[in-house]
């Protein structure tokens, strides 16, 4: 790697790590509130579960919520940060120095990962305390890692696409929240409850195939369509990544030609 690129990478990492430390109360609040809200809704749904099935259902629901938390956090922490970045006038500063603002945005991975991992651990403690279910025991760890990695790439690509769109037009955060809630509903559906003909179509929807892999890894659903889910999730992942890169390139070109509009994600 060229020394300049290395210095820039270090600067981006330093920026986001120091912001994480300076806004520690805000991030702690984010972790606590997210876990509390999710716990509040899940408790209501768990009232429908027969006592003998509670262990399996709680475990399945927990990991789907972790997956959703990843999608929601990456979209809001990455996509949403662009508004702040635009409003403090940093996009122009970076462009003038020949550094893409989207590369700065990549450092939000530090913030997003910290929030996601801390929320996951806090939620695990909450759920274990309430239902005495060990949530962190996984049967197929490799499959869980693959599923989570694919989910992370898909959700990051989504976050970057939102950030790129927010350079040109407004992105209403409320409606993205609704979309994210719709995603959690989709991810909760066990594939065996769907008609056989629609299962592959279901797996083509972004996030569903990796979350199916996660569910298999923790034995919350039977190990059906593993290979298909792996292939389809990789394909969706690559498509979303290409789309995000294209969106960022186009947004960069557009800004250089037309200037920055202070719109962002709200």
């Amino acid at each position: 790697m060229k020394p300049v690129a290395l210095v820039r990478m270090k600067a981006v990492l330093y920026l986001h790590t120091i912001r994480l430390w300076r806004y520690k109360w805000s991030f702690l609040n984010m972790i606590l509130s997210e876990a509390a809200w999710v716990f509040l809704f899940v408790l209501g749904s768990l009232l429908f579960v027969p006592k003998e099935q509670l262990t399996t259902v709680v475990k399945g629901a927990f990991w789907v919520i972790v997956a959703w938390s990843m999608i929601s956090n990456f979209s809001s922490l990455v996509g949403g940060w662009m508004r702040f970045f635009i409003s403090i006038g940093m996009v122009e500063e970076h462009l003038l120095r020949g550094f893409s603002p989207f590369k700065t945005l990549l450092g939000r991975l530090v913030t997003g990962s910290t929030v996601i991992i801390s929320s996951l651990l806090f939620m695990a403690v909450l759920v274990k305390g309430a239902f005495n279910v060990d949530l962190l025991t996984v049967d197929q760890i490799a499959l869980l890692i693959i599923g989570m990695a694919l989910l992370a790439i898909e959700s990051l690509s989504y976050g970057f696409t939102v950030a790129a769109i927010s350079m040109r037009t407004s992105v209403p955060g409320n409606l993205l929240e609704i979309l994210n809630l719709g995603v959690i509903g989709l991810m909760m559906i066990p594939i065996h409850s769907l008609p056989e003909r629609t299962r592959l179509i279901y797996l083509c929807i972004p996030y569903t195939a990796p979350s199916h892999l996660v569910k298999i890894a923790i034995s919350s659903v039977p190990p059906e369509l593993v290979r298909e889910a792996l292939i389809l999730s990789t394909m969706v992942c690559v498509t979303m990544l290409i789309f995000a890169i294209l969106a960022m390139k186009l947004a960069n070109l557009w800004i250089k030609k037309n200037g920055v509009k202070a719109i962002g994600f709200w």
Binding site: W25, S26, L28, N29, M30, L32, S33, A36, W37, F39, L40, F41, V42, L43, G44, S45, L46, L47, F48, V49, P50, K51, Q53, V57, A61, P172, N174, L175, I178, L181, I184, G185, M188, I189, P190, S193
Partner: protein, 270 residues
């Protein structure tokens, strides 16, 4: 400034807020149904109505149970966020110093300008759910159940106003309202038994839930979900608890808020 003027300014503020912020208005309409669909959908995906009745320990209709829970939860949250969160909003837009320096007490200004928003939001949510209740329960059954919910959210507002005013003065004095409000609101709802009955919570959590006015509001609203007619004794008991809480919280807020406001002004917490 007359109290009537404060109330009127609250009405005008809300009308213009929704007029100029259509996506927020749309979100207000969608959010309660989204919550309801998510909980009921996930519930039926995981289990059944029979298991629900067994776990709750009462013969209730799950749909009506969650409609009542969602309505009571949303309006309770609305009061807490509406009054406590308004401090945050005023700080952000720079109007908090003017409110602190105005002739009326800050808490009175915040409560009185908020009441129109409560009435408007509660009215919108009731109007949203009313057709569903009538479809599920029929006209007379629906009217009866809707009356219980209206009673709960109207009476429930009284102690919550005092509770939220106390909460506001605490937020004003600690200067960290955004970081506290975020996690304290869902925690209060969790202890109030928002979607999971408070009587099923662990013993230590039940003690906290007994001190929260929202617990009684939610329980009263949920009586509308009982299959058959709810006991009049239970309704009366919950109304009594809410009236008693109104007296306690509003008297306490009257005494303590002034101290909180003085502390905020002395320390320049604006």
């Amino acid at each position: 400034m007359a109290l009537r003027t404060l109330f009127k300014s609250g009405v005008v503020l809300d009308i213009y807020f929704f007029k100029n912020n259509r996506s927020a208005f749309l979100f207000t309409l969608i959010w309660p149904y989204l919550t309801l669909t998510l909980i009921i959908g996930m519930g039926y995906l995981f289990g059944s109505a029979e298991s629900f009745k067994q776990n709750v320990g009462v013969s209730v209709d799950p749909l009506m149970y969650f409609i009542a829970s969602t309505l009571a939860t949303m309006v309770s949250l609305d009061v807490m966020w509406g009054i406590g969160g308004s401090v945050l909003e005023h700080r952000w837009i720079g109007t908090l110093p003017y409110i602190l320096l105005s002739p009326n007490r800050t808490s009175i200004t915040l409560v009185l300008t908020y009441i129109p928003r409560y009435l408007l939001n509660a009215g919108i949510q009731l109007a949203e759910f009313a057709p569903l209740i009538f479809v599920v329960e029929g006209f007379y059954g629906g009217l009866f159940r809707l009356s219980i919910v209206i009673l709960a959210i109207t009476l429930g507002m009284l102690p919550l106003l005092g509770f939220s005013a106390l909460f506001t003065s605490f937020l004003l004095s600690i200067k960290e309202e955004s970081n506290v409000l975020g996690w304290l609101n869902p925690l209060i709802l969790l202890f109030s038994g928002a979607f999971y009955p408070a009587y099923l919570l662990p013993r230590w959590a039940r003690i906290i839930s007994k001190a929260l006015p929202s617990t009684y509001t939610i329980e009263l609203a949920r009586l509308s979900a009982i299959i058959g007619s709810p006991e009049l004794r239970k309704i009366t008991l919950l109304i009594g608890a809410l009236v008693a809480m109104s007296v306690i919280y509003n008297s306490a807020s009257g005494l303590l808020i002034q101290a909180g406001e003085r502390k905020a002004m002395r320390k320049g917490a604006i």
